[in-house]
Symmetry: C2
Subunit: 148 residues, 2 copies
């Protein structure tokens, strides 16, 4: 049977609002856990990317994290100022640069290993539900990704 228009409108509100609130809440969950590392959540994501593979060019990081260059640019500067990463020239293209964790940045990885378990524990949700959530979110991202 068909859903009424009102149901659709209601559902839409709930989904979008729930998405925004859930995102803020989960990031808020990270905050006290990341605070001892001196990282915000977006900064943590940049470090994760560089811990996984380095060097990465500025544009590669932006694409990986789906961050606007205008957002990433000052963020990178703060991470440099914290002494966690540094930029190196890329041979053959003076427009861009590559990012690499410093010694301190690599050392921070040890502490960061404790972050995911702490978050999962505080979330207290069964794994199946997290998997289901991730799959639904992936569908939304695919349906909305401006990159296509």
């Amino acid at each position: 049977m068909t859903q009424s228009t009102e149901d659709l409108l209601e559902l839409d509100q709930q989904v979008c609002f729930a998405l925004a609130v859930a995102s803020r809440n989960v990031i808020a969950l990270y905050r006290p856990i990341l605070e001892p590392l001196g990282l915000t959540h977006p900064q943590y994501l940049v470090m994760l990317a560089l811990w996984g593979k380095a060097p990465l060019r500025f544009g590669e990081v932006a694409e990986l994290l789906r961050l606007d260059p205008a957002t990433l640019s000052p963020l990178i500067k703060r991470l440099e100022q914290s002494g966690l990463i540094e930029r190196h020239p890329v041979a053959g293209d003076e427009r861009t640069f590559a990012l690499v964790p410093t010694e301190a940045g690599r050392a921070l990885r040890e502490q960061a290993l404790g972050v995911p378990p702490a978050v999962i524990e505080q979330l207290g949700m069964p794994i199946e539900r997290l998997v289901a959530l991730r799959d639904e979110l992936t569908a939304v991202i695919d349906a909305t990704d401006p990159v296509k």
Copy 2:
């Protein structure tokens, strides 16, 4: 069979990252649709609340939308400046105030009726998937709500 510890660690990062990206993408989907109404997404949520029930006290709006007073306060001022809402004194408590849509604010509701269908259409996701997503998000919000 059992999941490896590495999988679990990755799952946490995937869920949180997907949550942040999906939230940003969906709000970005609203942006061009709300632009003709002269509203940002948070402003749209405030208007939705007031279209549903008015007057609402400042604190009630903050609680409904799960917004920090420090975030809501300037947002309200912008909506007043746009001529869409106005504040009225509350008898018996001079600390707070009540919010009500102006004539222009009420008129805007007509245009706003077209917003949810436009969003759902652009999302292009089957209803079942939206329902599943909403259920998972609700679980996350319950697990993370600081208000508890």
